[in-house]
């Protein structure tokens, strides 16, 4: 907190009785950053990653926790008690978003809520840092992009590997080669070996229904997803094991790995066009085993997930780095003459400057799409053709039913 801000508070009649956060819109108006201010910050989803996501959001921003929300009352109460007992506690994120003291929202609920809460926050004029994976299905990501464009709010996904990648000269060179379009067809093959936690985040089918604890609003927890009988693993970190809420280790770990790779390989604005998996039949409720998934972009660039936890290893293509040596001397000179990509803005910088953050909605959405496409190839058991412009599968109406999954009333995109 800066001294000017303190002075303001001291002279404010409203602050005479006790310290309070003066909302940003009172000082400078939303969308206008005064030279010194304290941001009213909030956390939605106080369990698991919640506190860490909140700290990631407010790093380098003068801020104070003014509100927190969780469908489990003891969790939100406990968090507020530890962080700021004066902050307001909510069990319904919609009530929190009504609070004009809130400028920034960290979202760390299970992923089936990420898109809806992100969109609602933008509609309420808030900036958002949302835990990964960004979404549960493809159409959610597009809706988030549209909302943040419409409201000119700041969004950053809760994974930051691309910032480091963008500072590496090797990565910047690859990025420029890829963006130049000079390498066509593109021979690059990026293989992610292991690290996608298949066994950790595989579900247990056939559990007998239980009665949820009295402090859990189970209906609200299910929200836009199908209402199913409660079993304990559906709540907490093991929510990842259910298609209703996330997408296994693929979605849990995938955005960490593929978000920076997507920046390096210049694919922030597109998606693969063919997707093929080697996997056994997938269970309807819970995530399970798969061996590998191969995703190819329109220019020929290929990414592969090789699970290393089940089935045969991937052996169709060898890993191949993109490099200047694959270009003619003339084209190499063109790349060397290209300016470096603009530095990526952190969430704090983006909020202060009212400019797009490094992990902006379109980039985060496209990274999440890699995971959703891979999971759909696993689940559907067939090779898929995808149109990255229309964001639809080609010639496969039934596959498209997984692109925009209807939500439970009253929720919708």
């Amino acid at each position: 907190m800066k001294s000017n801000r303190r002075k303001f508070l001291k002279t404010s009649a409203a602050s005479a009785a006790s310290f309070q956060i003066v909302p940003r819109h009172v000082i400078g108006g939303q969308g206008h950053t005064p030279p010194s201010e304290t941001y009213g910050a909030a956390l939605i989803g106080c369990g698991g990653r919640g506190p860490g996501t909140y700290e990631g959001m407010v790093r380098d921003l003068p801020s104070k926790l003014v509100a927190a929300c969780d469908v489990q009352k003891p969790r939100v109460d406990g968090y507020i008690k530890r962080k700021n007992p004066e902050a307001k506690a909510y069990n319904d994120f919609r009530k929190l978003l009504e609070n004009p003291d809130v400028d920034l929202v960290a979202i760390a609920t299970p992923p089936h809520w990420h898109a809806l809460i992100s969109i609602a926050a933008a509609e309420a004029g808030k900036d958002v840092l949302c835990e990964k994976p960004m979404t549960r299905f493809i159409a959610e990501g597009r809706a988030v992009c549209e909302a943040f464009e419409r409201y000119k709010r700041i969004f950053q996904i809760g994974t930051f590997g691309r910032f480091g990648a963008s500072r590496s000269s090797t990565s910047r060179t690859i990025h420029k080669i890829m963006r130049s379009g000079l390498l066509d067809p593109n021979p690059g093959v990026h293989i992610k070996k292991g690290g996608l936690k298949l066994h950790n985040w595989s579900g247990k089918p056939g559990l007998k229904p239980q009665i949820p604890s009295a402090d859990l609003d189970w209906d609200f927890y299910c929200g836009p997803s199908p209402f199913k009988p409660y079993v304990q693993p559906r709540v907490g970190g093991t929510h990842r094991n259910y298609w209703d809420y996330e997408g296994g280790g693929m979605c849990d770990m995938g955005q960490h790995h593929f978000d920076p790779q997507q920046w390096i390989y210049g694919k922030d604005d597109t998606s693969p066009v063919t997707i093929e998996a080697f996997a056994p039949p997938s269970h309807p409720d819970v995530t399970g085993m798969w061996a590998w998934v191969e995703l190819t972009y329109a220019d020929g660039f290929t990414i592969v997930m090789d699970s290393k936890e089940w089935g045969p290893g991937y052996d169709r293509k060898a890993s191949k780095q993109v490099s200047l040596s694959q270009l003619s001397e003339e084209d190499q000179d063109k790349i060397k003459a290209m300016p470096d990509p603009a530095p990526l803005l952190t969430f704090a910088e983006a909020v202060k400057q009212r400019k797009q953050a490094g992990g902006h909605p379109e980039a985060a959405h496209r990274a999440a799409c890699i995971l959703h496409l891979a999971n759909l190839a696993i689940r559907l058991g067939r090779k898929l053709q995808y149109d990255p412009e229309k964001e639809q599968f080609v010639g496969d109406e039934e596959a498209n039913r997984f692109v925009n999954v209807p939500m439970r009333s009253p929720w919708h995109l």
């Binding site: 819109h25 009530k95 004009p100 309420a124 009988p229 039949p281 009333s409």
Partner: protein, 273 residues
């Protein structure tokens, strides 16, 4: 027909309760065999499904039935026949059987993946059944516009049940049903916040300028989060209609969103005008 040989290759929970002992070759072979007579297999599989609280397990039956539902379109395309339609009709027929609600909900979820126009009436019948109506609505929405008549038909029957009413209104809005304009307008004066918002959303979805006056009048009455959501419908509505009508919406936002914390809406409205 004995379907047990098709089920046996599908795994039961192994160590830690997960399905890690699955064999691709054996399960794929079982699916191929089952697909030789998908209607008969589906009919017998449904009989193996259990209420989630019941004794025994149906893990393998659910796994195989789901695999058939996601893969049958592919088989259908390959043979250029109507395997998918026949398979879906068998599942739809089971919905009139004496099965527990959660079994029917599971079958409906499979039809959400593979069903088409042929199963719409069978699913539509559940729009008036509490506890299963939301499964039915989502399946119908996934199947698409051909389902809209089911929602229209159900609407008068669910008016006195707010949960079912919201569910049906939601379906009509999601499918952007032009002919439900009056139903959306009627919802604008409902006492329930969610119903009013669904009314506003329905009108936004159909984007008919003739409803603008009622839409804006209703928007003005909303408070709290509903006021925020209503403003979002205003902006989406404006994006769908002609400039001169859209200008009415932006001017309306300018006039009504005057609280300090609504400055961002003022800015959007001003820049759009």
């Amino acid at each position: 027909m004995d379907i047990q040989p098709y089920l046996d290759p599908f795994p039961l929970p192994a160590k830690r309760g997960i399905l890690s002992d699955i064999n691709k070759e054996k399960t794929e072979k079982a699916v191929q065999e089952a697909m030789k007579d998908p209607e008969a297999v589906a009919s017998l599989l449904v009989k193996r499904l259990l209420d989630p609280g019941a004794e025994g397990n149906d893990i393998q039956a659910r796994h195989l039935l789901h695999t058939m539902a996601v893969r049958i379109p592919n088989y259908d395309r390959k043979v250029n026949g109507n395997k998918r339609v026949k398979f879906s009709l068998v599942l739809a027929k089971s919905l009139s059987g004496n099965y527990p609600d959660r079994v029917k909900a599971f079958v409906i979820r499979q039809l959400q993946i593979c069903g088409g126009e042929e199963v719409v009436p069978a699913i539509g019948a559940f729009l008036i059944v509490e506890g299963i109506a939301d499964d039915a609505a989502q399946a119908l929405i996934a199947i698409g516009k051909v389902s809209v008549e089911q929602f229209r038909k159900a609407l008068p029957e669910v008016k006195n049940n707010s949960i079912l009413y919201r569910n049906v209104l939601h379906g009509l809005a999601e499918l952007a049903d032009d002919s439900s304009k009056e139903s959306f307008l009627e919802a604008l004066v409902n006492e329930d916040d969610e119903c009013r918002l669904l009314g506003l959303w329905g009108l936004t979805q159909i984007g008919d300028s003739s409803t603008l006056e009622s839409f804006l009048k209703a928007d003005q009455k909303e408070k709290g989060f509903s006021r925020i959501k209503a403003a979002s419908y205003c902006l989406k509505f404006a994006e769908k209609i002609q400039k001169k009508d859209a200008a009415k919406i932006y001017r309306h936002l300018q006039k009504t969103r005057t609280l300090p914390e609504e400055k961002y809406l003022q800015q959007i409205a001003v820049s759009a005008l």
